[in-house]
């Protein structure tokens, strides 16, 4: 063949290929395409759980401080050591109350004195009563009978002197004077009785303060700290209820709300709980250019057994979740603003499907509308030259299983084989 022939034939061939290329590639080309699908996925019913991870430490949920006011009391000795387990009612330390003891003695003495006075008044009143009786009888009975009262003659004169009763005074007057005196004395007595009651209540309150010469614990827990120098708080008790404490970054803080469920893994154990407290004030001093951290505390639904305080916990907080929703791998969804996906249909074609997306986390996308569970979505390539293009798939030798051959009917087997044998 001559050179010019070869050159011209090559040129014709190349321009032929170029024309074909143009016709295939031009916009709204009518030429059929077959998309070679490398990867695909099925829409599955799944839970989309949005979480973030942070670290925490197992800590007692609360600490109780025990104070000792030495103004009234004198410290004796501690009854517990650091690390001791205590329950509500366990004595913690002993003390004495010298001043109160002294006060009690004084009050008791005063009370005794008042009670003595009351007794005196009672005696006096009964005397007055007798006297009154003797007077009223002497006026009504004969003189001779007055001997019977002669035994109390001395007393009467003494009383008369005490009451400043005139000897010549009539018996009526005497009686009224005596009655006056009795009222006076009864008033005095009731005053004294009031005083006794006051002393009683004083003693009660003193006793209350001194009766427990031991301070007892109000809660269950572990003695965390004992201050031997007696600086307050003298004892700190850590409660038995454990919680997880840790810090959140600014981003995590924004997403967090109290009450959000969380899981934690501490020492190989899985714990469940909720976000209890979030401290709105950052941990460190505010500084420009530095990320702030916020303290959080999580309570656990079930108290873990035998978990040492200070155990590190990997916490994952659930900030949002969608349970039992159609989901698809995130790569199947294209375009964020007007999302769509490519569906592989039963006719061997690809259709573009616009979707409404929901929650997305960890590569899994919730689908609210557009595609349904079990439908097949294309993952790669991420572009299709035309709508309703045919598709074929790359073989996935790793997914071939012997058992699958038993699942398909012999009719289906022959169909597959014949497609391979006959079709071009």
């Amino acid at each position: 063949m001559k050179k010019w022939k070869i050159i011209s034939l090559t040129a014709v061939s190349l321009s032929f290929i170029a024309i074909n290329g143009y016709l295939i590639g031009k916009n709204d080309s009518e030429v059929q395409h077959t998309v070679y699908v490398e990867d695909w996925t099925r829409v599955k019913e799944k839970n989309v759980v949005e979480t973030f991870h942070t670290d925490g430490v197992i800590m007692p949920q609360e600490e109780y401080d025990i104070y000792f006011h030495d103004s009234e009391k004198e410290f004796q000795r501690f009854l517990v050591k650091e690390g001791d387990k205590v329950t509500a009612g366990t004595p913690l330390f002993e003390f004495t109350t010298p001043e109160l003891d002294h006060l009690r003695e004084t009050v008791e003495l005063e009370k005794q004195q008042a009670e003595g006075e009351i007794a005196g008044i009672d005696e006096y009143l009964s005397t007055l009563l007798d006297y009154q009786a003797s007077i009223s009888s002497s006026t009504l009975t004969t003189e001779s009978e007055s001997d019977s009262a002669s035994e109390s003659e001395f007393d009467e004169t003494a009383l008369e002197v005490g009451l400043r009763i005139n000897e010549n005074a009539s018996s009526d007057m005497i009686i009224s004077t005596i009655e006056q005196e009795m009222y006076k004395q009864e008033l005095e007595k009731s005053k004294l009785e009031e005083e006794v009651r006051k002393y009683d209540s004083q003693l009660n309150s003193i006793n209350e303060q001194t009766s427990s010469a031991m301070m007892v614990s109000e809660t269950d827990g572990i003695v965390k700290e004992v201050n031997k120098k007696l600086g307050n708080p003298v004892i700190t008790i850590a409660s038995n209820v454990l919680a997880i404490k840790g810090q959140l970054t600014e981003n995590q803080y924004k997403k967090s709300e109290t009450g959000m469920p969380l899981t934690a893994i501490a020492a190989g154990k899985k714990l469940e709980g909720t976000l209890g407290k979030i401290n709105d004030y950052p941990v460190n001093e505010l500084a420009i250019g530095e990320e702030n951290h916020y303290q959080f505390e999580a309570t656990m639904t079930e108290q873990p057994e035998a978990l040492a305080i200070g155990t590190k916990a990997a916490v994952s907080v659930v900030t949002a979740e969608a349970i039992g929703v159609p989901t698809v791998r995130e790569e199947a969804i294209h375009h964020v603003k007007t999302p769509y996906a490519y569906r592989l249909n039963e006719n061997g074609q690809i259709t573009k499907q616009s979707v409404k997306t929901g929650l997305s986390f960890d590569g899994i996308q919730e689908i609210k509308e557009g595609i349904e569970i079990r439908e097949v979505m294309m993952l790669s390539p991420d572009h299709v030259p035309q709508n309703k293009a045919y598709f074929v798939t790359e073989m996935k030798p790793n997914n071939i299983k012997k058992s699958a051959f038993e699942e398909i009917t012999s009719h289906e087997k022959w169909e597959s084989f014949l497609i391979g044998l006959i079709e071009k």
């Binding site: 592989l344 439908e375 699958a404 044998l421 006959i422």
Partner: protein, 225 residues
Amino acid sequence: MFYQMQVLKGLLRPETSLYQLQKAERVTGIGLKLILLYLFSFIIFAASTYFGIGTESYSGTITDRTIEEFEAGKLLLLGGRLVSSLFYTSLFIWFAAFIFWLSLDVFYLKAVAVQIIVFAVHLVENSITSLVFVLFDLNHASNPFSFGVISQYFIRNEFWNHFFSAITLFHIVAITILYYYLKNLTKRNRFVTLTVILLFYLFTWLYTALMAYVEVPILFRRWLG
């Protein structure tokens, strides 16, 4: 005189090969070349099926099969395709040589030797087009080396589109080479030779178009249900 079967030489130095073939009383070295061609054909078919070329009518089953069942079916499809590679190679070399022996009175083994050379062209074609298909998301109907693309703009009928897409530049090259060899090996006139060759290729194109047009699942549904 012997003709030592050499495929590349037959393509690149046709004059020398033709001369040797004309003078030869015996043709040797066919066996090894044939095994290699069968092997290449096998590999090319396997590779193109791996990427999914020509499996459009199977793809739809993806929706109601598990991935394992889908892949199991594809493995059977690959099996069918590999068997068809043996048929394809055999028919093209042995059956075509038989036709040319019968109609053009060419010494049979010499016809086989010519077909081996021409078949190499088809293997090159298959490997190049497979690569182009996968890279540019195309199928047989839209083969850019064929007339199928242009015909799709003018004809709606799928069968004829498949027919035109079966006619490729490589086929024209193959026909040219075949014609060059056979016209010099036969005593029949050039016109008859060309007609026989073209008829053979016409039959190939029609057959290919039919096979591309046919969809086994649809046939199955018609026959069985």
